[in-house]
Symmetry: C2
Subunit: 129 residues, 2 copies
């Protein structure tokens, strides 16, 4: 098996993991990038809220493959979330969950700006576990 | 042991059994974000080069956990790479590899701008595979 095939298989396995509904699906994950500017005075509260949201989403939603939230080392109030869903439907379902709505409500006064980017994967290369 | 405790233990064991490999390490992954503006006329050549680089890095380097390359759907010449390494040493080693140097050489005339961001993870939430 070529490495290209192996990586495609890895990505497919990622999509399939814990999501029997997508097990037959060969489609690529749906990836979005959120860039969020936080009120520095409320950064710790924001981090707690986003952690709670991510933990719930990964645990409860079969179509949420990964939510990686990081802050910029140079500017800790600048947050980036790299989001991988099994498909666009999984993303839409995520927006309707209780934990996501709670996160949006509780952080609306902490967020100074929000930029959502829709993306097209070139290659989602991940080490086989 | 009460049934409540037994269930909690069961849940904890389940969580541990399916935890991602890097989550078992005491240290957190080292995460970087690269934002790259490509000459639109050379976008396909750039994509081929970055794919080759990512395939080699994930296959050959134990410390490269993930390299996720995506393009902006609104502006396909804008590329973002979300990079996860086992640690900062793994990142430094990556910069010295043959495949990375080949990628840098072959793409230097395709890249119009490059912004590298060092990050601090808030939470790297991933679905257990």
């Amino acid at each position: 098996m070529e490495i290209r095939q192996l990586l495609a298989l890895g990505a497919a396995m990622l999509a399939m993991a814990s999501a029997p509904a997508f097990a037959q699906d060969s489609k690529e994950p749906y990836v979005r990038v959120a860039e969020i500017e936080i009120d520095p005075a409320q950064l710790e509260a924001y981090k707690a809220a986003v952690k709670e949201q991510i933990e719930a989403a990964v645990r409860l939603e079969p179509g949420v493959l990964a939510l990686y939230a990081v802050t910029d080392k140079e500017n800790p109030a600048r947050v980036l979330v790299f989001e991988m869903y099994a498909g666009v439907e999984a993303y839409r379902a995520h927006l309707e969950t209780h934990h996501f709505k709670k996160y949006k409500d509780s952080t609306q006064d902490m967020v100074k700006s929000l930029k959502l980017r829709d993306t097209v994967p070139i290659l989602l290369g991940v080490k086989p576990r």
